[in-house]
């Protein structure tokens, strides 16, 4: 019968129309500003810089200004200037830090390569998506003060990944401390052996060498 296909189709739409009031799986619309979507942990929007504490974000930035992200960024939206001096990083090693770290979020395409390639777990992807600004140049060019977010915030948006990162950094720090301790012990042992060696001989030199104190940096 001509028109039976159309009638069958109308039956389907009628079923969906009625179902959209009663069947939960057919209610697909989210009332966005009132109902906030629950973002998956992997969701990424724009980069952020992780700092250890919220009180002193600039002093505890994990970034060591290695410029890997700047080189690999596909649209070239990251700009970094290295510092002249050094300060200890998350593992206690003396490192440079970024004096200028700016990301032009009007250019950034949220690919996440910077976060993926950062060897210091410093740059991560944020999950903010309401990023309107009133000025399209200064408002979207974020400098390091605006990019820095505390580790606690990072934990709040990506708990699983942040826990992994913290465990890895703690292991690194422990390894570095153990290495430093071992180096210091070896040095002290060498110095002691050196000091002991002349003492065992029949004292050609009356002045015994004082063992050097192990340097803290070793």
């Amino acid at each position: 019968m001509l028109g039976s296909g159309i009638i069958k189709g109308l039956a389907v739409t009628a079923k969906n129309f009625v179902g959209s009031y009663f069947v939960p799986e057919r209610m697909v619309t989210e009332q966005y500003p009132e109902d906030r979507p629950k973002l998956p942990e992997n969701y990424r929007s724009f980069p952020l810089l992780v700092s250890e504490t919220a009180e002193d974000p600039m002093g505890t930035l994990r970034c060591v200004a290695c410029q890997i992200c700047e080189k690999e960024c596909p649209p070239q939206c990251i700009y970094i200037e290295k510092s002249k001096d050094k300060k200890p990083d998350a593992t206690g090693k003396m490192q440079l830090y970024p004096v200028v770290f700016a990301i032009d979020t009007s250019v950034c395409m949220s690919c996440g390569l910077c976060a993926e390639l950062c060897p210091f777990d410093s740059i991560k992807m944020d999950q903010v998506f309401e990023v309107a600004a009133t000025n399209r140049f200064a408002g979207l060019l974020l400098n390091r003060e605006q990019l820095a977010k505390s580790n606690a915030y990072y934990h709040s948006i990506r708990p699983v990944e942040a826990a992994e990162v913290d465990a890895r950094l703690a292991a690194d720090r422990q390894a570095a401390e153990a290495k430093a301790k071992a180096a210091a012990a070896a040095k002290a042992a060498a110095a002691a052996a050196k000091a002991a060696a002349p003492a065992a001989q029949p004292a050609p030199a009356p002045v015994a060498e004082a063992p050097k104190p192990p340097s803290p940096a070793a």
């Binding site: 296909g5 069958k8 189709g9 596909p74 690919c111």
Partner: protein, 390 residues
């Protein structure tokens, strides 16, 4: 039908007036459809010459979305091009990623672990479903059904896109494949959700087909419209569902047997007439076959690493040489040609976009049909302008 030779094109900016043999015959009219036309699927323009309502000449014009993709890729590292490949065919970034990763892996001889291979098949088939669902919805939009079929299709697409977001962090710009594997390992919950979605998908397809396939208006508008001759199609290098709708059995998943596709049992649907209706049915049948592949893949997905331990992300320098990696994308043969000179950037980078090459026979398909049919024919070819213009 028009008997006179077509007028020289583009000589006047206004309507072309010329004499034809029939004294009662009116003038031909040149119309520029697009680039801001709702039915051209993006910034695509068709310069059509009309005799009444019938098309006597059609010139596709593109380039409005040209972003210099190939040249940019020649000036960035291999890895940095990966996010740009998302933006080629922005409806199916997972397959485009895979095509590029496959070309680079071929170039460097990089091995891929089993789990990553299965994941790639899963994601490529999910992408095929996303693309075909979108296409079918938009095709009906072009037919004039204002939005109902499109929203039904988008409802299902949204579920798959949410899965992509949960896995890769982005709904459409996934940036998921890497040279030598994949970026994120899916959790068991993700796999369970995806498997459930795939098992429920045939229900949607049945509903969709009940709603639309038997519809008399659809049959009247699509059957016999935009016929494509198989010889002509092969000659022009048409690939994908458009070619298979003409009855040519050519599917790279079977021909090249790339990835782990030989391990799956699936069939390649073939059309007979090469008209718009066959192209529509081809998409529906391919979605059903994709569901079959996905159900097999979720059963046999092995545990293990998703990234080859020898794979390098940064400082990646393949040996000098050239390669062409291709796969059966949702739209046709999607290929990447790479020429390496041993530096971190490719010396030459070229994309073979299926959308662009499938567009080349648009005029042949549209001649003799009305303007309203041209819109439907264009919709059934399935183009994405990000890929046409690059």
């Amino acid at each position: 039908m028009i008997t006179a030779a077509p007028a020289p094109f583009g000589q006047s900016s206004g309507p072309t007036v010329r004499r034809v043999n029939d004294p009662l015959h009116g003038d031909l009219l040149e119309v520029s459809m697009g680039p801001q036309h709702p039915s051209t699927h993006g910034v695509f323009r068709m310069d059509v010459t009309l005799d009444g309502e019938v098309i006597v000449k059609l010139k596709p014009v593109f380039g409005y979305l040209h972003r210099n993709h190939e040249k940019i890729a020649e000036n960035t590292s291999y890895l940095s091009s990966m996010p740009y490949t998302d933006r080629l065919d922005y409806l199916c970034s997972m397959s485009t990623n895979w095509a590029y990763a496959m070309a680079v892996e071929k170039l460097s001889g990089q091995a891929v672990p089993d789990r990553a291979q299965y994941l790639r098949v899963i994601l490529a088939e999910l992408t095929r479903i996303v693309n075909h669902a979108c296409l079918v919805g938009f095709l009906f939009n072009d037919l004039g059904t204002s939005f109902t079929p499109l929203l039904y299709a988008f409802r299902e697409r949204e579920k798959i896109i949410d899965l992509f977001e949960a896995l890769s962090g982005s709904r459409m710009m996934c940036n998921y494949q890497r040279f030598g594997g994949c970026r994120v390992d899916p959790t068991p919950e993700w796999l369970a959700a995806a498997s459930k979605l795939v098992d429920n998908f045939p229900r949607f397809l049945d509903e969709y087909e009940t709603m639309l396939t038997g519809n008399e208006i659809l049959l009247a508008r699509t059957q016999g419209v935009g016929r494509l001759d198989p010889k002509h199609a092969v000659n022009a290098g048409i690939t994908g569902p458009v070619l298979r709708a003409c009855g040519v059995n050519y599917d790279l998943r079977k021909v090249d047997a790339y990835g782990f596709y030989p391990r799956f049992d699936f069939r390649v649907p073939l059309g007979e007439h090469g008209d718009t209706y066959d192209r529509y049915m081809m998409r529906i049948l391919e979605m059903r076959e994709s569901v079959k592949i996905l159900q097999q893949a979720f059963k046999v997905l092995p545990a293990g690493p998703i990234m080859d331990p020898k794979a390098k992300l940064r400082g990646f320098r393949p040996k000098p040489g050239e390669t062409y990696g291709r796969l059966e994308g949702p739209k046709g043969e999607l290929g990447f040609y790479l020429l390496s000179d041993g530096t971190p950037n490719p010396y030459r980078y070229r994309v073979r976009p299926p959308s662009l090459i499938n567009l080349t026979l648009l005029e042949e398909m549209c001649l003799g049909h009305t303007v309203a049919d041209a819109v439907v024919i264009l919709g059934s070819i399935d183009i994405v302008l990000g890929e046409v213009d690059r």
